[in-house]
Subunit: 279 residues, 6 copies
Amino acid sequence: MTTLREVQSTIEMLFPKRGAESWDAIGTTTGDPDAAVTKVLLAVDPVSSTVDEALDWGAQLLFTHHPLLLRGVTSIAEDRYKGALLARLIRGGCALHAAHTNADVVESGPTGTIFDLLGIPQGPDHRIPFEPLVDQPERGIGLVGDLPDPISLREFVAKIAEIFPVTAGGVRVAGDPEMLVQRVACCSGAGDSFLNHPLVTGADVYLTSDLRHHPASEAREQAKINGGKPALVDTAHYASEHLWLAGAAEKLAAAHPDIAVRVSTLNTDPWSWHIRQDA
Amino acid sequence: MTTLREVQSTIEMLFPKRGAESWDAIGTTTGDPDAAVTKVLLAVDPVSSTVDEALDWGAQLLFTHHPLLLRGVTSIAEDRYKGALLARLIRGGCALHAAHTNADVVESGPTGTIFDLLGIPQGPDHRIPFEPLVDQPERGIGLVGDLPDPISLREFVAKIAEIFPVTAGGVRVAGDPEMLVQRVACCSGAGDSFLNHPLVTGADVYLTSDLRHHPASEAREQAKINGGKPALVDTAHYASEHLWLAGAAEKLAAAHPDIAVRVSTLNTDPWSWHIRQDA
Amino acid sequence: MTTLREVQSTIEMLFPKRGAESWDAIGTTTGDPDAAVTKVLLAVDPVSSTVDEALDWGAQLLFTHHPLLLRGVTSIAEDRYKGALLARLIRGGCALHAAHTNADVVESGPTGTIFDLLGIPQGPDHRIPFEPLVDQPERGIGLVGDLPDPISLREFVAKIAEIFPVTAGGVRVAGDPEMLVQRVACCSGAGDSFLNHPLVTGADVYLTSDLRHHPASEAREQAKINGGKPALVDTAHYASEHLWLAGAAEKLAAAHPDIAVRVSTLNTDPWSWHIRQDA
Amino acid sequence: MTTLREVQSTIEMLFPKRGAESWDAIGTTTGDPDAAVTKVLLAVDPVSSTVDEALDWGAQLLFTHHPLLLRGVTSIAEDRYKGALLARLIRGGCALHAAHTNADVVESGPTGTIFDLLGIPQGPDHRIPFEPLVDQPERGIGLVGDLPDPISLREFVAKIAEIFPVTAGGVRVAGDPEMLVQRVACCSGAGDSFLNHPLVTGADVYLTSDLRHHPASEAREQAKINGGKPALVDTAHYASEHLWLAGAAEKLAAAHPDIAVRVSTLNTDPWSWHIRQDA
Amino acid sequence: MTTLREVQSTIEMLFPKRGAESWDAIGTTTGDPDAAVTKVLLAVDPVSSTVDEALDWGAQLLFTHHPLLLRGVTSIAEDRYKGALLARLIRGGCALHAAHTNADVVESGPTGTIFDLLGIPQGPDHRIPFEPLVDQPERGIGLVGDLPDPISLREFVAKIAEIFPVTAGGVRVAGDPEMLVQRVACCSGAGDSFLNHPLVTGADVYLTSDLRHHPASEAREQAKINGGKPALVDTAHYASEHLWLAGAAEKLAAAHPDIAVRVSTLNTDPWSWHIRQDA
Amino acid sequence: MTTLREVQSTIEMLFPKRGAESWDAIGTTTGDPDAAVTKVLLAVDPVSSTVDEALDWGAQLLFTHHPLLLRGVTSIAEDRYKGALLARLIRGGCALHAAHTNADVVESGPTGTIFDLLGIPQGPDHRIPFEPLVDQPERGIGLVGDLPDPISLREFVAKIAEIFPVTAGGVRVAGDPEMLVQRVACCSGAGDSFLNHPLVTGADVYLTSDLRHHPASEAREQAKINGGKPALVDTAHYASEHLWLAGAAEKLAAAHPDIAVRVSTLNTDPWSWHIRQDA
């Protein structure tokens, strides 16, 4: 029998706590470390659909990227959705555990996985983190690296649209479709805080999510007096953080051959549809 | 069938939320507002013994004075006692709800009940709160009022020891046993923040709990140059906040005749025994 | 001859300063109050394209919704785009002035104009601001009001897509296309801070911009346990704040018949193209 | 003739300033460094009774553990007891000097002395501070160490009651009297901030003072799911900080053979009597 | 016999506490309220020379404008000058009491007295405070008012130099000596925080003390584009706050005919000499 | 052709950015790095007179000690003097660049130049900074060093008055004119924050600017119980920061032989005249 405590240890080896930001709320949100675990479901978000999936399947652990209680709560009453989810998980005997910024910084985290899929070579000579960890400078939030060959922005975006899970909102782009891009900066999830980072302003294209009007507009205006770079490619936050789960599931399964591990295929992007406007 | 939501409404009428301090975490900590309630247990503290009692009896609501999550938490994992209590309550179908500073300020709250038991007359002419609510100046934290007749401090303390539930630590006193006391200042629970309040320094005796060395010492030194008043009487925090529960239970039962209401008689003072030193 | 100072007075009458948030940086960013003004260009954003348009046309005033220096700067050197724009405006003799949150709160501001175009009746009985000004409770940020008749969310979004200027990103929606909506909450620009506002959670649909994954996801999860409302409709920030400029231009022209007033038709949404993903 | 300045130097050697917490107010509170010193009185607290004793005896220095002005004052008028004490000391030619957290951290400080009296072996292999000084890791606030042999909690508490000066409140205990204890964590004075420290939660018993309801209750609840450890033993704050004075007096006398050094035997615990409640 | 307590009451009537700024430390710094007072010395500063004067004369009260302990202290040891002064005052039986910002705001305070000496009419129609007290809008810090007739700045400064006590540094002026001034803004002591106040920028001349390079330079540069006003006249801080003492002494003497009241004539400006540079 | 970018590089070599305080706003305030520079004017202050001089002479760079925008601005409209200066500089094709605390810390900065003129030997053995840079401990704000021979304070001040540019306010002194001074502490500009620094209290005289009443008075009172040292010498802020410009101009000219470099001789002290008071 494998306990939650043993799975916690495996997760700690894969995505060590010390890699997490100080404001993060990683780890086990609910669950008994001594409980047995035979099925683990991985998902980006701890939301009603993925909780349903975990309980329907009989999982004892829902392992997500986003923590449910990122900010502290003083109530888990069931008229608040977070309280309702926690109560259902507890009644259903399913723990909840998150690897968030501690997953973002490792080689096999969301950004590293996107680089793998783009064919950018691995290793510290080829991938530089925006914010290296103090004691492990080859790891950190955000990465910059070079595609094997320059391609047009149009081709780059087409590749992203193909690699990433489908979402209603698709992919938004700022930049000339014909410009050549080779140096790629990427931060899975919300990466606006790095728009002025030298590794980003020095790249040909910045791939991230959740860019709002003002940061995007300011970055584009500054790009215009810097030769038009970097182009901006904005995907659904969910989409950019889904790809690494397959690799994490494999590693968990390898460490615990007695546990069934599954990656949720449910789309947890909040947007359900989209209307294109025609000029 | 009575729902938790209906009991919440009754509690709101008895101990309105707007009476609570801004830092407090009153209300429902766990529970589904639409669940049926047939048994309610009242207690000072949400701890393992009172949770046991509630679940053993089959209560659907544990109604306490102290909130379990006074400070926000980002995890309710079961290797932390608060997480373990919440999981047991959820599995046992028992909600948890607290009336804390919102109970302290009403006439029938802990301090008001102590005044009743001391025979201090009711009403705004006889009882002045230390910190009146802005819109209800007759209500507030802490009370000062006069005993019908002056008695010796020794007699006063004996009465307190008799009225209050028995605790291992008993009652500590600073002041001449023979001094006469009539004007009583009282703040149930931890009342050190009021030691310099004019209503306290103007009283003959201050009855409260959880006084530590420095605040008590400073108050006594200042008292010495102010004629020796107020004497200090320090009881167990639990003891001072238990007495009002009987009245609250009565009012809940009256509003919900179909609900069985019970006050826990378990002592939740953390101290289990005490050694007297002999000079 | 009309001076900038006189135009400032007109703008103050239309969009009084006291309506602005304390953190805002409205008013004249650059310009000499005694300079003559014969041409005024209105735009949402002070960016290179609208500055070009103003200077090419010979305008002496570029009047925008967004302030260029929302946060204070200690340098306007020309290797930063804001410095470069300011230098070009100063050399070209063109002032820059913003009406931002002071425009948001008036009846003819961005949100009010959207309500006009949706056919929601005018007046304080029909439009309630989220955050009423203390001294003018009928004005304020955000509005809630009822459409004359309920329509399907699909129809509502189609109408928005038609009314709003075309942008690459189109309109993203969360909610059942067939649900009926009548009560509309709207906050032009970035409205995520109001997602938990009772007037928003009590509406059928919330129309705003710049919603990111986490606020949108949390609002949708909470909506699911509240009957699915409100639906969320997310447009380009630029689009939601362009519509009121026509009305403002009219009012400025009426007050200053000797001034030529024009609304920029340039799209200042930073996104230049978009790729739809197919399932 | 020995001056106060020379005594200050001796105190600095025994209890160096750099060991003090940043918030502490150690050192000379009142006194002229060039004044002659022939008699020194040591006490835990600078209160009226110990000031009387110092002046009656003709001491030129009252050396205490607790600083009189821990928080800054803008008045020493004599209608405040601190001002009255300072005026009496100045008129009586008696200086006041405190060694507080700088005494807590040294081997011969209050906690170290208690360990000596409990027979816990000396030296860094046997005593680990909770918070080691950065540059002297064998010193620090709080200590954990092992009794030579396990004894029952009942015996342990009896020994404490015997060793410590008698106070009205006696000793409060939380824990099974028959449990065996060997690993002792101790912090003289108010030690609640260390209740969650791993060295404390890993001990069999925690001996400290001034524990209030909530910290004690939370520690006991957590202990219950951790095998019942540590037990809590709460003594009078004064009592726990009196024992080291004898050693300090000896060292002062050895350094200054021309000075008469005396330890006050006055009990400065603020509580003058206590009532036991019977079940 | 008059006690210090009675003198405190008189001071409270003349300069009520509620007029003081929240950061101020007015009132009795040292002294016993029940001590007899037969001689009172008034001075701007509690420094060694004025303490000497008070003790030499046998005063029981030194009443100053500036508080000795504006910021809280945790030591009054005598190797710090404030401790040395306090010890000397206590040994000499002389109390110390300050009326600072509570004196600044009343009609007969430092600024009001300067206005009297300049011949500016009294009363709320003629003197407007910069910062009116909430409940007494005719009182407040700083005043603006009109001289009976315009005079040249040269004449104005000559008058100030004549009225004010002589100090080594004399009077510094920024402004054309021949400009006419009639509207005078004045803040005794350090008035730089009001340099941008509309009542100051709207005056012909601003009379204050302790102006440093940057505030003075910025005010003058702004004045240059506002027609050269206000001129700045900077005197010794001591000088501007000495003049009101005569009036305060008179009022104290009138209230306490049995007390001898004297104003110190010692110059407590820290600067002892000055060198003029020749071009 | 030399560009502004090349001059920036030279300034960076002379006065590296990493020497600046974190709150400072050094560097280029306005200007295009690619613009040609043929004439550079140096001045202490960016004010209307020095901007006039730069534009009249046809300079493309005004290089000052004080930054114009030390605190961030959200408007450079021309009814504020800073906006007016910036607009004139931009229209006149003249950049503005400041070296402030980054100049203060180098050997040839304002304080170092004063030491040179006083004949204090150069080098880390002879000049100790108050606050050494972490990585270059021989550099830092403030200096202490010894005159070759002791001289009277009177002679020292006479020398200062002769060396420093003439200002209306002259030089203020606190201390006995006949005392001998050899150890000189100096901080050009406003140095009050160092009045309690051991290197200052250990010096014979402290030379600085902008000392206000309270810091100067407190320092003098403390000096009185420390043997009268240090004396205080207070000059115009402008005067103390002018002397280093000649050396900076020389170095710039040496690095860029094709650029004409000139030091402004305009006095930018805000005080235009001064009246001496006679006893």
